[in-house]
């Protein structure tokens, strides 16, 4: 298998090239621009068979994606931040029509104030639109996640749109060594796609997107609930199979030195990589610390998280966005809810950090572990929701 140096954006566009979708409709936005810019070059160079639709906005991009996917095409796109927000009118339509569109999302803070750097507020803002959401720790995972998203989204038990995310600049623009698959291998892996109830199927004519009022709207939401339930096991299955085929196995969550840990960080995205380095260092010194990486945010792996955290004294939930609800960030509220029914549960603290791309350093994580080890000793948290690294 080829080992190459790629940024997160290059890794995602490479995966797109190898998938060779029928249609890509996209509009550029920092820091996701390169994903579709590089892909447009593949189209111009004749390396893919894709119909590339250069639209005038992200609203049009997602609209074109929905149209193409409803016609039976395999469809992909990419965006970030404000772009994802501009798509947001159409995102829930994609899931309601059960269209397995795959989106390369690069996490970036929402305006305002205007900012181009990483936080998770954009992805979190669309978390209830019935899209599968998978976070990547590095460029390798970005590549692997895009391939797996295609497989998960198109699985007959799921048929929902999916987004794989990287962290803006931290992953999207950082060059790393990644292992890719051969083109032919990817072709075999994703296989042929055949849509269900597509509008261009003349033998089986259907109407999509009709008016649906008090009598049927609710019924039409239930298959989505069911598909999201199914998605959990499908994601696990696909992750295991990926491991068997290519040696890199994936699950819904990933525990790192968690088994005998007393204090652990729970996080999403690139911060997990930084945390692993600090965990290794503190383990060297004999401290019982660990990490729980949440790879899949939608569907939310509540039972798995509750089980993974059961034996800890303290779980520190890191949120790179806030819900502004006085109840902590989105990851925190969902983890807390996941723990409600647990017989055994740790003390939990929420650190809201890194908004607008503010760096989270090794030292920051050392200090968080140190603080929370004190909490573990005291058996009681002083402050449940903390805004970390902000000046007063």
């Amino acid at each position: 298998m080829p080992i190459i140096a790629r940024t997160g954006n290059e890794a995602m566009s490479e995966a797109m090239r190898q998938i060779n979708p029928d249609v890509v409709a996209a509009y550029p936005i920092t820091p996701a621009t390169e994903v579709v810019m590089l892909f447009a070059k593949f189209v111009a160079d004749g390396l893919v068979d894709t119909e590339f639709v250069a639209v005038e906005s992200e609203h049009s991009a997602m609209s074109a994606c929905v149209g193409a996917s409803a016609a039976g095409a395999r469809v992909m796109t990419g965006t970030s931040s404000q772009g994802l927000q501009l798509m947001s009118e159409i995102l829930p339509i994609a899931s309601a029509l059960r269209l397995p569109i795959v989106l390369c999302e690069v996490n970036r803070a929402l305006s305002g104030p205007i900012n181009i750097h990483c936080d998770h507020s954009d992805t979190m803002a669309v978390r209830d639109f019935a899209w599968i959401q998978i976070f990547s720790e590095n460029a390798q995972e970005a590549y692997d996640n895009i391939l797996q998203c295609m497989k998960i989204a198109e699985d007959k038990r799921v048929l929902l749109p999916a987004m794989a995310t990287t962290d803006g600049f931290i992953i999207s623009h950082c060059m790393e060594k990644i292992e890719t698959l051969e083109d032919a291998e990817v072709k075999k892996y994703v296989g042929e796609y055949k849509g269900v109830n597509t509008v261009l199927d003349l033998k089986n004519p259907v109407t999509l997107g009709s008016l649906d009022l008090q009598d049927y709207y609710f019924e039409h939401k239930m298959p989505i609930v069911e598909a999201m339930r199914n998605a959990k096991s499908v994601i696990e299955e696909v992750g295991k199979e990926f491991g068997k085929l290519y040696g890199r196995e994936y699950g819904l969550i990933e525990g790192y030195k968690l088994d005998d840990a007393e204090v652990a960080i729970v996080a999403l995205g690139s911060t997990c990589g930084t945390t692993k380095a600090v965990v290794d260092e503190l383990r060297e010194k004999g401290q019982k610390v660990g990490l729980l990486k949440i790879r899949v945010f939608r569907p939310f792996p509540a039972e798995e998280i509750a089980a993974a955290l059961a034996n800890l004294k303290v779980a520190v939930i890191l949120d790179r966005s806030d819900s502004y609800n006085n109840q902590g960030g989105p990851l925190f509220t969902e983890v807390r809810s996941a723990l409600y029914d647990a017989a055994k549960k740790p003390l939990i603290t929420n650190y809201i950090y890194g908004l607008g791309g503010r760096e989270i350093s090794l030292d920051d994580l050392r200090s968080i572990f140190a603080e929370q080890q004190e909490v573990a000793k005291a058996g009681k948290a002083k402050e449940v929701i903390k805004y970390f690294g902000v000046r007063e």
């Binding site: 309601a96 029509l97 059960r98 269209l99 048929l159 269900v196 109830n197 004519p205 259907v206 109407t207 999509l208 997107g209 009709s210 649906d212 009598d215 049927y216 609710f218 019924e219 039409h220 239930m222 298959p223």
Partner: protein, 97 residues
């Protein structure tokens, strides 16, 4: 289409079989209605082609015979497109109910 289906009986996605509009009387909120004057009609079928609701009725010889008022929404496109000189073969009149 069966009424009051449960969610497990629905087609995939939000799809419904094509042609279900036939089952609904969607013409009951018209404020104006088209009236056909057969003596003026040259049978060009412009009205039939342009009607967005397939409400222009033809006989077996493909001649216009009138309108399906269960479907006609009174948009007036047929009257507008009718190429005959005024007064046209289709005129719009106030709907009285």
């Amino acid at each position: 289409m069966k009424k009051n289906m449960g969610w497990k009986e629905l087609m995939h996605g939000d799809a419904v079989q094509a042609g279900t509009a036939k089952e609904f009387k969607t013409g009951d909120w018209r404020s104006e209605k088209p009236v056909f004057h057969p003596e003026k009609c040259i049978n060009c079928l412009f009205c039939w082609v342009n009607c967005p609701d397939c409400a222009v009725l033809l006989d077996e010889n493909k001649k216009v015979v009138g309108f399906d008022y269960n479907l006609c929404k009174g948009c007036g496109i047929c009257a507008h497109e009718c190429p005959v000189k005024e007064p046209k073969a289709i005129t719009m009149e106030a709907e009285r109910r």
